[in-house]
């Protein structure tokens, strides 16, 4: 067996020797399972077919926290991948790891690969760019939060589904009517912190932390216990008490509650669209997220969620050239359009957005451009560019715990948000100390 395999390998080497010698392998660890994983493999395959010098090997490493832990362990053992897909809450951790990562801007410059940061959607690229304008990681899959309504339930309650609630006051009024018509669950949400603290702050142009939401330095402090935040969370607690808001859990459990028809209104990721389209046995639409209309400047723009590609440190120059080539390939309008239309994630460059629009895709799929329109609703401000909080994996957990205390009626909104800010700041200070 051993001999046979050796002979085979030798034979193969003899046949392909020139090609094999020239090809440099680029390891890419990612967290896209199922249909998304197939799309991702398609991208790698296309790149490999487009040239002969480099071969991108895409490896699925489990969900976001798992693949990140695996990559950290691999880095400590000295065999990290070249490219690692990291979820947005891991951004500060990656960025702080100087020496473990190489900023994308540097990779592109070193490889002399043409690269213009201005070509990218500001709210998308901004999340992963430092204040000097250097792109740190490559925005790969980004979505944002949308507001979904069930048209059939709206009609049954005597509401006009073509006039979806735009403000939270209208959401409350609609919820009352829906409840009156016998709707068990009128409103639910997925990703409570991302929706009701992170995006809520950006959409109302208020900070959730100092130093431009952490973008200006690790000495940032949370301040999402402002009167506006308290008012919003108190409103949700009140809705829960009156049976107008059904809490679904910390991740995407709300998706199923909407697509099964159980809940009539729903805040969820734009990436939930595919699942809803498949499962929903009713007419529905996605809309801009609601806002409080007495807040000046609202609605501003929403922020992204999703993941970006980080280039890991300690590799050979020739490998970095391959990485740069691959990232340039991913930025091509036609490649982006394919990814955008195939997955529902937003296009990352303005050119690909234009190309998709010109192709007539948005006319055939009304609402497919909604995430981009909401992300670019206004030019991003210091409050709506994105977030960069140290160890936000823990920070988000704290926020979600305190929100749950409000939703279950165990804590007042003010006390809960004060506690969340205080506990969150402890985490930020520790991160600052560890990354000094």
């Amino acid at each position: 067996m051993q001999m046979k395999r050796l002979a085979l390998a030798l034979a193969a080497a003899a046949c392909f020797a020139p090609a094999a010698q020239a090809q440099t392998e680029i390891q890419w660890w990612h967290s896209m399972g199922g249909a998304l994983g197939e799309r991702l493999n398609g991208l790698a395959g296309k790149f490999n077919a487009s040239q002969k010098d480099y071969k991108v090997v895409a490896v699925y490493k489990g969900q976001y926290p798992v693949s990140m832990t695996a990559a950290i362990a691999a880095f400590r053992a000295g065999n990290a991948p070249h490219i690692l897909q990291v979820f947005e809450v891991g951004t500060a951790t990656m960025m702080a790891a100087k020496g473990a990562v190489v900023p994308v801007a540097k990779v592109m410059a070193d490889a002399k690969e043409p690269f213009n940061p201005k070509a990218y959607l500001p709210t998308v690229a901004g999340y992963y760019t430092d204040l000097k304008g250097n792109m740190l990681s490559f925005p790969f899959n980004s979505s944002t939060v949308l507001f979904y309504i069930n048209h059939d339930s709206f009609r049954k309650a005597g509401l006009d589904p073509n006039k979806p609630p735009r403000t939270w006051a209208e959401v409350n009024a609609a919820a009352e009517k829906l409840k009156g018509s016998g709707q068990q669950c009128t409103y639910t949400t997925s990703w409570p912190s991302w929706m009701h603290i992170e995006n809520f702050s950006a959409w109302h142009d208020v900070p959730m932390g100092t130093k431009q939401n952490g973008m200006g330095g690790f000495d940032t402090q949370f301040n999402f216990n402002s009167p506006l935040h308290v008012r919003h969370v108190a409103m949700l607690g009140d809705m829960a008490k009156r049976g107008l808001f059904t809490y679904a859990g910390r991740t995407n459990q709300g998706d199923a509650k909407f697509s099964s028809g159980e809940c009539a209104m729903f805040s969820g990721s734009a990436s939930a669209t595919a699942g809803i389209r498949k499962a929903a046995r009713f007419e529905w639409s996605a809309n801009f997220i609601p806002y409080h209309d007495d807040v000046k400047g609202a609605p501003q723009n929403s922020i992204i969620g999703g993941a970006s590609l980080w280039v890991m440190g300690g590799k050979k120059p020739v490998e970095y050239r391959g990485v740069a080539k691959f990232l340039a390939f991913l930025s091509r309008p036609e490649v982006q359009m394919e990814w955008h239309t195939g997955t529902g994630y937003v296009p990352i460059t303005l050119a690909s957005y234009d190309l998709t629009r010109k192709s007539g895709y948005y006319d055939k799929n009304p609402g497919a451009d909604l995430p981009v329109r909401q992300l670019t609703h206004k030019a991003p401000t210091a409050n709506s560019k994105g977030l960069r909080f140290g160890n936000f994996v823990q920070g988000r957990e704290v926020i979600e715990e305190e929100l749950e205390a409000v939703f279950s009626g165990r804590k007042e909104a003010k006390a809960a948000l004060d506690d969340a800010v205080r506990r969150g700041n402890d985490i930020l200070r520790r991160f600052e100390a560890a990354n000094r």
Binding site: P65, M68, T69, I72, F75, R76, T93, A96, A97, K98, G99, A100, A240, Y247, A248, G249, R250, Q253, A256, K257, S260, E262, N391, V393, Q394, E397, E400, E401, E402, E404, A405, F407, S408, R410, K411, R423, D426, R430, A433, A434, N435, R436
Partner: protein, 293 residues
């Protein structure tokens, strides 16, 4: 007559023990020492900067009222798991011991759950009890019970206890069954002839004779509840709602594995280690006195 086996060689007993000692050292003592070492350090996720911080990690833990609150949660959780796990499996074992026909099938089925990984068990129970789509949720709703552990703290605790106990029953069952089978039939028969009913026979003969087994299982179950249950919690409640099911070991797992906070996580595991050492010592000191070997 001397029944003990005596080794005449000076090195043979040590050589025979060596593999076991090596395994214990490498897989138990070495990680424990490392955890203690890490608990005095502050480290970034990638291990690029390491700073010796003395007891700072511990100080921070004990200042955190949420961490202190999770001691109470852990105590409640562990005693529920250990007590109901032992009680239910004792009941099942006494039943299975009496079965004549099909005994093997019963026993096999009862031992089966032990082969299921904690995370899988958690997912199974989470599906059965899922707030909107779970089968059992549906049955409960028909019975007029509003089942929603996503937001109801007591129900969440109940769910993780049930899932953890279910996992451990097989193990307990095996030991109880073996214990029951080693009780001489003649003793029980003599009591029966003297007119003792089944319950009286159980409490005055069977239970005392099982006490070494019960004591062993008490120790094992408490260790299980303290250390091995994070998989179940991660797959179901993830510590929520709020912090209702946030037991100590889950926080160790979350901070260490998911949030890459090695210093904080190691400090917690050292605290946990001391608690379990203390608990085991207390059990041997006080509970064991009542055990009849």
């Amino acid at each position: 007559m001397e029944k003990r086996v005596v080794f005449r060689s000076a090195w043979l007993p040590y050589a025979l023990l060596a593999p076991q000692i090596a395994v214990t050292l490498v897989f138990f003592f070495w990680p424990a020492v490392q955890a203690v070492w890490f608990s005095f350090q502050e480290q970034d996720a990638f291990g690029l900067r390491t700073e010796f911080v003395g007891l700072a990690n511990f100080e921070r833990l004990f200042r955190d009222e949420n961490y202190l609150a999770s001691f109470g949660t852990t105590a409640l959780f562990s005693s529920l798991v250990a007590f109901s796990g032992i009680a239910i499996s004792l009941l099942l074992a006494t039943m299975a011991d009496r079965v004549v026909r099909g005994a093997l099938a019963y026993k096999t089925l009862l031992i089966w759950p032990y082969a299921v990984a904690p995370a899988v068990a958690g997912v199974l129970w989470a599906f059965l009890f899922a707030p909107s789509i779970g089968v059992i949720t549906y049955v409960l709703k028909q019975a007029g019970i509003d089942w929603n552990w996503i937001i109801d703290a007591e129900q969440a605790m109940l769910l993780v206890v049930v899932a953890s106990v279910w996992k451990q029953i097989s193990y307990n069952f095996l030991f109880f069954l073996a214990g029951l089978q080693s009780i001489p039939r003649s003793l029980i028969e003599a009591a029966a002839i003297d007119g003792a009913g089944p319950l009286r026979r159980f409490w005055t003969i069977v239970f005392p004779l099982l006490s070494p087994t019960t004591f062993f299982l008490l120790v094992v179950n408490i260790v299980y509840a303290f250390f091995d249950t994070f998989g179940v919690i991660d797959a179901t409640t993830q510590g929520g709602p709020a912090q209702a099911t946030h037991i100590l070991v889950y926080k160790v797992y979350y901070d260490g594995v998911k949030a890459a906070d090695l210093g904080g996580s190691s400090a917690q595991s050292v605290v946990l280690m001391f608690i379990v050492i203390a608990l085991t010592a207390v059990q041997f000191r006080f509970v064991e006195r009542r055990v009849q070997y």
